[in-house]
Symmetry: C2
Subunit: 266 residues, 2 copies
């Protein structure tokens, strides 16, 4: 797959998506499912099995076999991640797939109830990074290992945020974690020239995260930003940003590991 060329998912495609039980993850799964060709597979990962089942039902089609497994990506071992992907293949050879794509959508906001100047809880930082950075890396490595044979047909999408490149008061966990995560994918893209890597920033989306911020945040500026998002009706619907993500992918005009935002021109 050449650089900056369009990405075709209309063949037999393998797709794995983390954080698939809700919000942006669910919306991306639904949009991607529509594109996939015959004998494709989608593996949906998240903790909540009931909500995964709903996402799975929304993705089902004649072309796509949807598999889902409850997994806690804050604690899963690389071995468990490896095995969940292998199980979803049901004995099929990776070379059967014309493309294989992973969406790293899992994420959390971190502790919003503490001023940045008061941060000192190292175990809490470790836990945050386990889910948001370290295990994202570990899952990505399992994907690369399992699909090594078709490395030139791989696509990696990291769901990032404007916060990865622009500091936001009251969100030091989130901003620093997103910065670290995005940078890992940038270094990977430097080394793996044949793998297409995209950092997609979905913009402010109407999800449970918004209410979580308003319930938890102590930072006044952060509360104001999110309150105005909510009151002015400027929040995006998950399906709208998911559709943009898919369009950006298909057009394939992004440079290796480029940070592409919802609000960027197409």
């Amino acid at each position: 797959m050449a650089m900056s060329s369009s990405i075709d998912l209309s063949g037999t495609t393998y797709c794995v998506l983390s954080g698939a039980s809700q919000g942006i993850g669910r919306a991306i799964a639904v949009e991607v499912a529509k594109l996939l060709g015959p004998k494709s597979v989608i593996l949906l990962l998240a903790r909540n099995k009931d909500q995964l089942a709903i996402t799975a039902a929304l993705c089902e089609s004649d072309n796509v076999s949807v598999v889902y497994e409850s997994i806690d990506l804050s604690k899963a071992s690389p071995r468990q991640m490896h095995d969940v992907i292998v199980r979803s293949l049901k004995g099929r050879s990776v070379s059967d797939f014309a493309a294989s794509i992973i969406f790293h959508n899992v994420g959390s906001l971190g502790n919003l109830s503490i001023d940045t100047a008061q941060m000192e809880n190292v175990p809490e930082l470790r836990e945050y990074y386990d889910l948001n950075v370290f295990n994202v890396i570990a899952l990505n490595t399992q994907f690369l290992k399992i699909f090594d044979e078709i490395e030139d047909r791989l696509v990696i999408v990291n769901i990032t945020s404007l916060c990865a490149i622009k500091p936001m008061s009251g969100m030091a966990y989130y901003c620093s974690g997103k910065a670290a995560r995005e940078m890992y994918f940038k270094v990977l893209a430097e080394e793996k020239k044949h793998v297409r890597v995209l950092n997609y920033s979905p913009g402010p989306v109407e999800t449970a995260m918004i209410d979580y911020v308003l319930a938890e945040a102590v930072n006044e500026n952060l509360r104001e930003v999110f309150t105005s998002f909510k009151n002015q009706g400027t929040l995006l619907k998950p399906e709208v940003t998911a559709q943009k993500c898919v369009r950006v992918l298909q057009a394939g005009k992004f440079s290796p590991a480029e940070h592409v935002d919802y609000f960027d021109d197409e």
Copy 2:
């Protein structure tokens, strides 16, 4: 201390510096010591006490009382960090100081012997982030708490790297850790408008790190970059970049938490 105004360290100043036993840390300590006014204090932190003693000897002057303590910042608790700073004050009130400055110079390169696509050792990632990110945050918080009373006279310098903003093949630990660390300071600066925060990138410096890269790195591109640094004699002497760091600080023209590189115009 107003934004974008010059920073004056010629009064009675408190200074704490991590990674002070060698290289850039030692050079910055020496340069800063020259500036400080009567009754100033410098606290030097690192693991190696013998090397700290050498740095301390280089910093001694009529104006400056130099204190050093061996501390392993990969493992120290917030309490231990707090206590080491308090001990160095020897009962003096923080309001005695016209300015207080911290240099976060501690850092390591991470595992260079693994391709980024093979990373999956989560405990190793945690250890790397403990030293390079989480405990930097914890130490910074102790500094802010102890000097809370003179918050408008505080200066924070994070020694960062071009790698915080530009991916470098073979250095995923280092690049992602530097990105996370720099972003933490950017968020802090958003919240703490009265604290001067600088992210200083020292450029390629002739330190033990260079030989470590050449000894450990598996990535060909990385080896080539560092070999050419070494062969072409383009590496900077530690004192040269330390002097630039001090000039940037004194001029104080940087915006909050700005990433300023050695090669940037003055």
